[in-house]
C-alpha cells in the first residue's frame, strides 16, 4: 500500500524514451513522412511533365534578351536588355510603389485616425465614414475604379491644373521637379551625413542628461548639421537648384516629373485603402493610453507638445507598431495587384516572362523570393524598432 506509491518509472523497451516521447516520435515521423511523400510525388510529376513538354528547367533564360517593353521604369531599360535586368527593373518599380505608398499611407492614416478622435463631431463622423467605406470594398475593385477614373480624365490639351505647374490628365499626374544630378546629390549626401552625425550627438547629449540631469538643447546641432552645412556645400560648389516646370508641347508634356496613370492609380488605391486600416490602428493606439496619463501630464504643467512626444506617443507606439508592421507588409504584397492594370511591377514582368518563355516554376519562384525577401526585411526592421520601444519589464 505504501511501497508502490513511488515506484521508479518502468524502463521501456526503447531505453530513455517514455510512452509520451514514443508517441511524439511516432506523430513526427508520420507527419514528416507524409510531407516528404507529397513533395516527392509533386516533384516526380513535375519532372515528368517538364520533360514531356520539353521545357528545360533552370535560370539560364535570365541571360536571354527579354524583348518586352517596359513603359514606366525607375531604372533605364530597353527591350534588348536581359530578363534578369527586366526583373531588376520590376523589383525597382515594386519598391517605388511600396516605399512611397507606405510613407503616404502612414501620414494619411495618422491624420484620419486622429480625426476620428476629434472633438469636432463632423470631422470624426467623416473620418469614420471614410474608414468604413474604404475597408469594406475590395482593393482590386478600388484599383480598377481609380484606373477607370484616370482614363476618363481629359486629354493632355485640356488637362486640369489644380495648381500652377501641376497637370492632371489621362497621361497621368505631371509635377514640377528639380532635376537631380551629381552636384545636387553631393548636397543631399551631406545632409544625410549631417543627420547621422546629429543622431550620434543627440544620443550623447541624452546620455549626459541622464548623468547629471541638466537638459542640453539639441537644436543648434540640428540646425548646423542638417541645414547650414548642406547649404554651405551648395553655395561653395554653386549647385543650381532650378525648378523644372512642365509645359505642354504638341500632344504631350515636356519636363517635370510624370507619374504615369497606372502608377498613379495604383498609388492612390494602395494609399487610401491602407490608410483606412492605419487610421484604426492609430486610433486604438491613442485610446489605449489611459486617461490618467493625460491628466497626470497636464497636472505637472507640461506643454502639450512635450506631453505628446514624451508621454503619450511612447506608450501608444507600443500598441501601434506591431499591427502597423503587418499593414506595411500588406501594402507591399498588395502592390502585386499592379498586374491587373498593367503597371509593370515584378509580378507583372514575371507574368510576361512566364508567357514568353514558359518558365512557370522559375518565374513564380522569383516572385515569391522577391516578396519573401521584402517581407523579411520589413519585419526585421520593424521588430528591431519594436524591441527598441517595447516596455522593458523586469
Amino acid at each position: 500500500m505504501t511501497s508502490d506509491v513511488r515506484r521508479p518509472p518502468r524502463r521501456s523497451f526503447f531505453g530513455a524514451l517514455g510512452p509520451n516521447e514514443l508517441k511524439g516520435l511516432f506523430w513526427q515521423v508520420l507527419v514528416v513522412g507524409i510531407a516528404v511523400a507529397v513533395v516527392l510525388f509533386l516533384w516526380s510529376n513535375t519532372v515528368t511533365n517538364l520533360s514531356a513538354r520539353r521545357i528545360t528547367t533552370g535560370f539560364a533564360f535570365l541571360g536571354r534578351e527579354a524583348g518586352m517593353p517596359i513603359a514606366d521604369s525607375l531604372l533605364t531599360y530597353n527591350p534588348r536588355d536581359t530578363y534578369l535586368w527586366a526583373f531588376v527593373v520590376g523589383v525597382a518599380n515594386t519598391l517605388r510603389v511600396a516605399v512611397i505608398g507606405i510613407v503616404l499611407a502612414t501620414i494619411l492614416g495618422t491624420l484620419i485616425g486622429i480625426s476620428r478622435l476629434s472633438a469636432n463631431w463632423l470631422l470624426s463622423r467623416l473620418a469614420a465614414v471614410y474608414v468604413e467605406v474604404l475597408r469594406d470594398i475590395p482593393l482590386l475593385l478600388q484599383l480598377l475604379f481609380w484606373y477607370v477614373l484616370m482614363q476618363a480624365l481629359p486629354a493632355a490639351r485640356a488637362a486640369w491644373r489644380p495648381v500652377e505647374g501641376v497637370f492632371l490628365s489621362n497621361r497621368g499626374l505631371i509635377l514640377p521637379a528639380i532635376p537631380v544630378g551629381s552636384p545636387q546629390l553631393r548636397v543631399l549626401g551631406t545632409a544625410v551625413l549631417g543627420c547621422a552625425a546629429f543622431f550620434v550627438i543627440r544620443r550623447w547629449l541624452v546620455a549626459q542628461q541622464m548623468r547629471d540631469g541638466k537638459p542640453r538643447p539639441a537644436w543648434p546641432f540640428a540646425l548646423g548639421l542638417i541645414v547650414v552645412l548642406p547649404a554651405a556645400v551648395s553655395l561653395l560648389f554653386g549647385v543650381p537648384w532650378k525648378i523644372e516646370w512642365p509645359e505642354l508641347r504638341g500632344f504631350n508634356f515636356v519636363g517635370g516629373l510624370t507619374l504615369a496613370p497606372e502608377y498613379f492609380a495604383l498609388l492612390i488605391a494602395l494609399v487610401t485603402y491602407t490608410s483606412a486600416f492605419i487610421a484604426e490602428i492609430v486610433r486604438s493606439g491613442i485610446q489605449s493610453v489611459p486617461r490618467g496619463q493625460w491628466d497626470a501630464a497636464s497636472a505637472l504643467g507640461l506643454r502639450r507638445s512635450f506631453m505628446l512626444r514624451q508621454i503619450i506617443l511612447p506608450q501608444a507606439l507600443r500598441v501601434i507598431v506591431p499591427p502597423m508592421t503587418s499593414q506595411y507588409l500588406n501594402l507591399t504584397k498588395n502592390s502585386s495587384l499592379a498586374v491587373a492594370i498593367g503597371y509593370q511591377d515584378v509580378v507583372s514582368i514575371a507574368n510576361t516572362t512566364l508567357n514568353q518563355t514558359g518558365q512557370a516554376i522559375e518565374a513564380i519562384s522569383l516572385i515569391m523570393a522577391v516578396f519573401l525577401t521584402i517581407s523579411l526585411g520589413i519585419s526585421f526592421f520593424m521588430n528591431w524598432y519594436n524591441a527598441r520601444i517595447a516596455l522593458a519589464e523586469r
Binding site: 510529376n45 472633438a119 463631431w121 470631422l123 475597408r135 480598377l144 477607370v148
Partner: protein, 368 residues
C-alpha cells in the same frame, strides 16, 4: 428600498448649466466648441456640401435611369454630366450570374439566398451547437445540387458556366469551411512540443503569409497542372479554391494561435489532471475557450478574406468582380464602367459592412 438611478457619481454643481435650446447646446459642444473648431466645421460643411451636391447632380439629377433595351444613346447624351444607371438593369443578370444559362438563373439566385440564410444562422449565438455543423453540410449540399443540377430534373450546368455572385460566395464559404479546420490544425502544430511538426507549421504559415495571394493564384493556375500526373486535370475554379483554402488556413492559424495563447495555463493543466488525451483536451477544454477569445479578429479575417476572393480576376475566374469587368467590355456600354463598379462595390460593401457590424456587436457583448 432605494431606487438606483443611472446617475453617475458626479456632483451636480460640477456640470455645466443646462440652459438654452438642446439643439443649440449640442451644436455648441460638438461643432463650435472653439474658434478653430468652428472654422474647421464650416470648411468641412462647405466641402461636404460641394461633394454631395456634385454627386446628386451626377447621380440623380442628370442621371439616366432606364433606356430601351440595348440602346445607350440616352446615356451617351449625358456622358460626363450624369450617371448612366440604365446599365445596371441592362447588365445586372450578367453581373450577378455570369454566363449561367439564362432560363436557369433562378438556381444561382436561390443559392445566394441559401448562402445568406446560412451566414445569418451562423451569427445566432443560440445556434452555436453541433446541429449548426449539420445545417452547414446540408445547405452546402443543397447549393451544390442547385448549381450543378443533373439530378431531380434539373439540367446539368458545368462549372465553367458559373459566374458572378455565387462564385464569389462559393470561393469565400468553402475557403472558410476548409480553411478553418486547417487553421486549427496548423495553430496546434505551431504550439506543439514536437520540433518537426512545429517547424513544418511555421514554414507553412510564414511561406504563405510572406508572398502575395496573386502569386499563389498564379501557382494554382499555371503550376498546378505541372505538379499533377499526366491526364489528371482538375477544374480551374477548384484549383483557385485550393489556393484560397491554403491562404485562408495560414491567416486563420495565426488568429487561432493568438486565442490558444490567451487560454490560461491552468486550463491545460486541469485537463491534463483529468487525464484527457491531447485531442480531447483541445476539443473539449482549450479550443472552445480559445476561439471564443478571438471571435472579433476571426470575423475581421473573414472580411479581409471575402474581399480577397476578388483577386481570382487575375487568373480569369468569373467571380463578381470579373463579371462586372466583363459586362463593360460591350462597346455600346464601355464608357459607363464607373456606374457598374459602384453597383458591385455596393454589393461587396453590404456583405462586409454586415460582418463588421456583427463583429462590433460581438465585441460589445463579450466585453460585458
Amino acid at each position: 428600498m432605494t431606487v438606483i438611478t443611472g446617475m453617475p457619481d458626479v456632483p451636480r454643481a460640477a456640470r455645466r448649466p443646462q440652459i438654452g435650446n438642446p439643439v443649440l447646446r449640442w451644436l455648441r459642444a460638438n461643432l463650435f466648441s472653439s474658434i478653430p473648431n468652428g472654422i474647421l466645421t464650416l470648411v468641412l460643411l462647405a466641402v461636404l456640401a460641394k461633394g454631395v451636391i456634385g454627386f446628386a447632380q451626377w447621380g440623380i439629377a442628370n442621371a439616366v435611369l432606364l433606356t430601351p433595351a440595348n440602346d445607350s444613346a440616352a446615356c451617351k447624351a449625358v456622358r460626363g454630366l450624369g450617371a448612366c444607371w440604365a446599365i445596371i438593369p441592362e447588365k445586372y443578370r450578367f453581373i450577378l450570374f455570369g454566363t449561367y444559362p439564362f432560363d436557369e438563373q433562378w438556381r444561382p439566385a436561390l443559392s445566394v439566398v441559401l448562402f445568406i440564410a446560412l451566414f445569418y444562422l451562423s451569427t445566432r449565438r443560440a445556434l452555436w451547437r453541433r446541429e449548426l455543423g449539420f445545417i452547414w453540410i446540408g445547405a452546402l449540399a443543397l447549393i451544390s445540387v442547385l448549381m450543378w443540377g443533373g439530378v431531380f430534373g434539373l439540367s446539368f450546368v458545368s462549372q465553367d458556366r458559373w459566374g458572378g455572385l455565387p462564385v464569389t460566395l462559393i470561393l469565400a464559404t468553402f475557403g472558410l469551411a476548409f480553411g478553418f479546420p486547417l487553421g486549427i490544425l496548423v495553430a496546434l502544430g505551431r504550439r506543439s512540443k514536437l520540433p518537426a511538426i512545429r517547424s513544418l507549421s511555421v514554414l507553412y504559415v510564414e511561406l504563405i503569409r510572406g508572398v502575395p495571394l496573386v502569386s499563389l493564384l498564379f501557382m494554382a493556375s499555371v503550376m498546378f497542372p505541372l505538379f499533377m500526373p499526366a491526364g489528371f486535370n482538375i477544374d480551374k475554379l477548384l484549383r483557385a479554391q485550393i489556393a484560397i483554402i491554403l491562404f485562408a488556413g495560414a491567416y486563420l492559424a495565426e488568429v487561432i494561435r493568438g486565442g490558444l495563447q490567451a487560454v490560461p495555463r491552468g486550463q491545460y493543466e486541469a485537463a491534463d489532471a483529468l487525464g484527457l488525451s491531447y485531442w480531447r483536451k483541445h476539443r473539449l477544454v482549450v479550443l472552445p475557450q480559445a476561439i471564443r477569445h478571438v471571435i472579433p479578429p476571426l470575423v475581421n479575417t473573414f472580411i479581409a478574406f471575402f474581399k480577397d476572393t476578388s483577386l481570382v480576376l487575375i487568373i480569369g475566374i468569373f467571380d463578381l468582380l470579373t463579371t462586372a469587368k466583363t459586362a463593360i467590355i460591350d462597346p455600346a456600354w464601355q464608357q459607363f464602367s464607373v456606374e457598374v463598379y459602384i453597383f458591385v462595390a455596393a454589393i461587396y460593401f453590404a456583405f462586409c459592412f454586415a460582418m463588421s457590424r456583427y463583429s462590433r456587436s460581438l465585441e460589445a457583448t463579450s466585453r460585458r
